[in-house]
Every structure is written in C-alpha cells, then in structure tokens.
C-alpha cells in the first residue's frame, strides 16, 4: 500500500515531519516578509514624535504669517476690502480722517480706496449682532455644526477643534467661510493643539445661513467678533466658485 514504509536506518527527522517543517518554514518566511514590510511602512511612535516636533517648529515659523492673515479684513472678489456699513459709518463718525490714515497704514494692500479697511479699528468697534440673526444662527449651528464642535463650542480634542476663543473664528471671516464651503483637510493648530482630521464641506447652506451661523459663533462661547453679512459670504463664494477640493492650512499659510 505505502511506498514510504520505513526500512533500514531511521533518519533523525522522519520524512513526514521534515516535509511539515519545510511547509511551516515556507509559511513563516511569507509571514515574516509581509509582517516586516507592514511594520516598516507603519509609522512607529518615535516617528510620530519626530513628526510632531517638526510640526511644532513649522508652527512657530508660521505664527507671524498666520497672525497677519487673521487681522486682515474681509475682501471682495476683486481684492478690495469690505467692512459692514454700520462699522464704516461708526469709524467715519469717530474720526473724519480715518480713510486717509488707513490708506497710509494698509500700504501695499491692493485698491484700498474703495472701502475703509478695518485692521486698526477692529478692536475698537465691536458691533453686537441682531438678536434675530443670532437666533437663526443658533438654529443652523444646532443642525450642522453641533455634532463635531459640540453645544459648548469646545469641540472634541484631539479630533475636532474648538470654536471658543479660536483666533481663526473671530478674525477675518474669509477663512471660516472657505472652510464651510469647501471643507478643510489636514492639520490645523488651534490654541496650541494640533488637530489632524477633516472637516467636510457643508452642503445645502445658503449665504444667509453661513452668515447667520458665523455671526452666532463669533458672538458666542466667549467670542467677540463682528457680525458677518450674507453679501460677504456671497463674495467669498463667488471668488472660489470653481473650487471643489478642501482647503489645507499649508495652502492658506496657517499651520
């Protein structure tokens, strides 16, 4: 029946076991190659720390640039600055020569003559939002933003960044509008903490909705930012009409 019947000297390792060992070694070789390449490709904890360190340095480098961007006023599609009419009236009423002063301060900014720019005055002219607009904004917030940024506006560290006391939120509304329209991909640093996830673009919100919710966010959770108008949102939407890809902080000069 069998052609492997044992005869003569028995080997140290019987033939069947030798074949078994061979098959196991083959499998182990396959496993080691695959497993090692996985572990080599996978980012270990040390590399993670190194990456974090590099990120920190980059963040320090970009801090000034980011600050400059945040204090810059909103712009129209053609590059001119815009501030709410009420603010402009208030500024001019306060100091009739404000336009000339600002023109001198803004310096290289393109076509600043069309409207008075805000940077110097932003701190001085806080405008309380219309309570109706706040109410509408709260409603939009409750159905759109609340899942990630939470009812408290504190977000969910380390996944979702806070809106409370976040400079980006109260600064130039252009950035938040862009994030709402096209989303934000990749790392962003808020109050010293780096969040590396994705904010999806928010579909189905009108310009008025965005203006309302931003106004709400800019004047809630301890934030003190001026209201945003639907016209501002409309201009930013028009300026980025062709864009579908999410924004990245690298592209916007933040880190």
């Amino acid at each position: 029946m069998s052609d492997h019947s044992s005869s003569g000297n028995r080997p140290l390792i019987p033939g069947q076991v030798a074949v078994w060992l061979g098959a196991v070694s083959l499998l182990a070789a396959g496993l080691i190659v695959t497993g090692y390449s996985y572990l080599a490709l996978r980012q270990g904890p040390n590399e993670d720390a190194a990456r974090r360190q590099a990120q920190k340095e980059l963040r320090a480098e970009n801090a000034k640039k980011a600050q400059a961007l945040l204090t810059e006023p909103a712009r129209n599609a053609d590059g001119t600055f815009r501030i709410p009419l009420k603010d402009a009236v208030a500024l001019v009423a306060q100091d009739p020569k404000v336009v000339a002063k600002l023109q001198a301060a803004a310096g290289p900014a393109p076509a600043p003559a069309a409207a008075p720019a805000a940077p110097a005055a932003a701190a001085g002219a806080f405008v309380k939002a219309d309570p109706e607009q706040m109410k509408r904004g709260a409603a939009v917030y409750a159905r759109t933003c609340i899942a990630c940024h939470q009812p408290t506006g504190l977000g969910l560290p380390p996944v979702f960044p806070p809106l409370a006391n976040a400079p980006i939120v109260v600064g130039n509304p252009e950035l938040p509008v862009k994030f709402i329209l096209q989303g934000l991909m990749g790392p962003i640093t808020v109050n010293g903490m780096t969040y590396n996830s994705m904010m999806p673009p928010v579909a189905g919100v009108s310009d008025a909705d965005i203006a309302d919710v931003l106004t709400y966010v800019r004047q809630s959770f301890g934030n003190q930012g001026n209201p945003v108008t639907a016209d501002q949102v409309k201009a930013i939407r028009a300026a980025n009409a062709g864009r579908t890809a999410p924004w990245t902080t690298a592209e916007l000069g933040l880190k």
Binding site: M1, S2, D3, H4, P14, G15, Q16, V17, V19, W20, G22, A23, V24, L26, L27, G30, L31, T34, G35, Y38, L39, R42, Q43
Partner: protein
C-alpha cells in the same frame, strides 16, 4: 446490510463482511476522530447558544437577562466563534486530512503531533470563549478572542492543519486533482491571513480605518479561503467518487481554482461600501466580488453539469452523502451569484446594516461548508470505524431538520434584511416601525435555530453511537 439507496442508509461503507480498514485510513483514525468528535461537541454547544441567542432576540426570557454572561451580545459572539473555530475548523482539519491522505496514498505516522495540535486548538478555543463570555472581547467579529489566544491558535493550526500539505508533498505520483489544490491553498492561506490580521488589528494596530479594512479582509478570507475552498475540495472529491463518473468540463477547474484564490482575497472591502474608506478600495472590493462570478460559474458547470447528466440529481438525492454535498454545491453557486450581484453599490446601499450580509455569509458557511461536512462524514466515518450508521431515521431527521432550518433562516435573513433595508432607506418610516418589522422575522429565526439544534443532536447521536460501538482498530498494527 442490503437496504437499497432510498432507505437513507449511507452508502459509503466498507465491502460486505469486511471490517478491516485500509492502512491509510487506519493511520488517520486517531487524529480524525479527535478532530471530528471535538467538532461535533462544539457544534452542539454552538447550537444551544444559537437557540439562547435567538430567544434573547425574539422574546424576553427574563432569567437569561439577569445573568450578564448570557446577554445577547456575548452569546451571539460566542456562538459564532464556536461555530467557526470549534466546528468549522475541527471538522475541516479532519476532512482535509482524510481527503489528501486518500488522494496521496498517505500513511500518517506522526498522528500524535496532529492530536497535540487538536488539543491545543480546543484548549485555546475554550479559554477564548470563556473570556468572550466574561465580556473581554476585542470587538472585532471573528477576532473576538483576547489577543494572546491568536498565536496559540496559529501554532495549533500548524500542528493540526498542515498535514494535508505533507500528504500532498509526499504523494506517490505527479498527477494532482482539484481537491488537492483547494485544500493546499486553504491550508496555506488561513494561517497567513490569520496571523497578519492579528498583527494588523490586535498587536500592532494600523491607524484608523486601516484597522477596519484589515478586519474586513480577514473575514472575507476566512470565509472564502478556508470554508469555501475546503468545502469545494470535498465537493470535487465526493461528486465524481460517489457517482462514479468524470466531472463535466473538468479542464476548466484550474481556471476556477486560480480565479477563486486570486479574487477571494480582494472581496473584503466590498462590505465597507458607504463607510469612510477610500473609494478606490471599496471599488476594488466590488470588482473582486463581481469577478467571483467566474469561479462560481465554472464550478457550477463542473458540479451541476455532472449532476445533470444521466439522472445524477436523482442518484444524488437517494444517496445520503450526495444529498448533503449537492445541497452544499447549490448553496455555493447561489452564494457566488448573490455575492456578486449584491456587492454592487445600488443593492448594497439597501442591504447594508441589515441581516442580508449575515444571510450571504451563512449561505457559504452553513449552506455550503457545513452541509458538505455532514455529507462527507456519512461517507468517511463508516470506512474509518468499520461499522455502519446505527439509525437511518436519525439520518433523515438530520437532513430534514438542518435543511429546513437553514432554509427558514436564509429566507428570514435575506428577505427580512432586504425589507429592513428598504424601510431604513425610506425617511417616512419611523425607526421604531423599522425595528418592529424586523422583529417579526425573529420568530422564523427562533424556529430555525431550534430545528438546527434538533438536526445536530440527531447527527451527534448517530455519530457518537457509531464511534462507540466501532471495533478496535484491527488493522492498525498487523
């Protein structure tokens, strides 16, 4: 001993009056019976747990609710683990070893090594299931066991499940048969997939969604490459063997083998359609699942073509082994076709998050693999023990209870799952109503689990009665 085929008497038996067992089979007796008996015991435990889980879902049995060990989440997980790792693996350890020893004229001289592996496997499994009952699960389906169980199971697999490869390597002739390809493929694929999944999911977890991708990859490989391939090996063996004819279009079988092993490993991400994994990965899974139609069709040509000539279906129906095996073959074809069709995005959008996926899985694991193992044991056990099955009535009870029980459950999973999916997609229907509609199917599942338990008890009674009354292995030492 002279009953005709219609009596339900198993046909696979030694020649009249000869209780001697061939040397190949005598050498397999120890390991085979260890694997087989532990498989049947685990099957019984899993069936009882299945009834408990079904009762827990369908109605409120207060007594069980009181005990945290019997909360539905733990019972269902333990049931699935025991069915897959206890029954499925032990049964195919036995069957694959027997198949390749037969095909390779392999006299197994190191049975104790395989038995050691079997004991280690069952001990590790017992420990793992105890931890699952204690609530210490990993949370990944079919990788529920705490991670220290993984390496033990892998080593036990190498000891218990690698001997078919040895039998293949030491076959006397160069000629090979389809069954051998599938068993060798399955025996190599499982430990590799299992250890890599352990590494990627539990030991050195990949970040974020990659973990989910690795897990879905593991589940697809486990179901297709272990259960599917092992069952196919048995189908390819028993069909021509019992019918005593060649397979229709057998020249296509190599294509079936290679396409099966090529595409099965890629089907995992098809289960992730709609989740936050890259779109190309989901599409790859969908394409692979659709390509699985190719091996399914070729195997259908091989198997159903053979059954359809010269009254093959009638003979299969009247032969105990073939009745189960051809049930499994039909289930495999159905699983391949349904799996391909429902992997596409539109149907998948309706069927996901419902019991539909369970139905497709069970079509492969129970409808195909388990039924094939039942059929095979009706063929193998009489040869190995040198006796006949004690009761034909129990054989009938076994077939009808398992076949009906499985079909009932299949209808509940597939139809109920599809209905649930459509209700979920309809915003006008309240979620409570969806749940109410879904729970109406639980009655069917409860009936089915009881039927399956009855069938398995009948099978176990018959098998254990047979093993106990078997004469001592006469030809082993002469």
């Amino acid at each position: 001993m002279t009953q005709d085929n219609r009596s339900g008497r198993p046909q696979g038996r030694p020649p009249e009056g000869d209780v001697r067992v061939s040397r190949v089979e005598a050498s397999l007796r120890g390991p085979f019976l260890l694997f087989f008996v532990s498989a049947v015991i685990w099957l019984l435990v899993a069936s009882v747990l299945g009834v408990i889980a079904a009762l827990g879902l369908g109605s409120s049995v207060g007594v069980l609710r009181e005990c945290s060990w019997f909360t539905p989440g733990r019972v269902a997980a333990a049931q699935q683990d025991l069915f897959v790792y206890g029954w499925g693996f032990n049964a195919f350890f036995a069957l694959n070893l027997w198949l390749l020893s037969q095909l390779g004229r392999f006299e197994f001289r190191n049975g104790w090594l395989a038995q050691l592996g079997g004991v280690a496997w069952n001990l590790a499994l017992t420990y793992g299931v105890a931890r699952v009952f204690a609530g210490e699960m990993s949370g990944y389906r079919l990788l529920d066991f705490p991670r220290e169980v993984g390496p033990v199971l892998a080593v036990a697999f190498l000891l218990a499940g690698f001997w078919p490869i040895v039998a293949f390597a030491r076959r006397p002739t160069g000629h090979t048969f389809a069954s051998q390809w599938f068993v060798v493929g399955a025996s190599f694929a499982f430990p590799l997939v299992y250890l890599l999944a352990q590494l990627l999911v539990l030991w050195q977890p990949a970040s974020g969604v990659v973990q989910a991708v690795a897990h879905s990859w593991f589940v697809a490989n486990l179901l297709q490459l272990w259960f599917g391939a092992s069952a196919l090996a048995a189908i390819y063996y028993f069909l021509p063997k019992v019918l005593e004819r060649t397979l229709t279009g057998y020249y296509l079988a190599p294509v079936a083998f290679w396409t099966f092993f090529l595409f099965a490993g890629w089907t995992g991400p098809a289960a992730l359609v709609g989740s936050p994994v890259p779109l190309w990965l989901q599409s790859t899974g969908v394409v692979a699942a659709a390509m699985m139609i190719i091996p399914a069709i070729i195997i259908a040509i091989n198997v159903h073509g053979t059954l359809s000539t010269q009254g093959g279906w009638g003979r299969a129906w009247n032969d105990t082994t073939l009745r189960f095996v051809s049930f499994g073959a039909v289930a495999f074809t159905l699983a391949g076709v349904l799996g391909g069709v429902f992997a596409f995005r539109a149907p998948s959008a309706v069927a996901r998050f419902t019991s539909f996926a369970t139905g497709l899985e069970q079509l492969l694991v129970y409808g195909c693999a388990t039924m094939v193992v039942f059929g095979a044991s009706y063929f193998v056990l009489p040869r190995l023990t040198g006796t006949l099955w004690p009761s034909a009535k129990l054989v009938h009870a076994h077939f009808w209870a398992t076949a009906l029980g499985f079909l009932l459950a299949l209808v509940a999973w597939l139809v109920g799952g599809w209905q649930t999916g459509q209700l979920l997609a309809n915003p006008a229907v309240a979620y409570a109503d969806v749940l109410r509609a879904e729970s109406s199917w639980f009655f069917l599942l409860t009936v089915s689990s009881v039927l399956l338990l009855v069938g398995h008890v009948a099978f176990a009674l018959n098998a254990f009665g047979m093993i106990l009354k078997a004469p001592a292995p006469a030809s082993r030492h002469d």
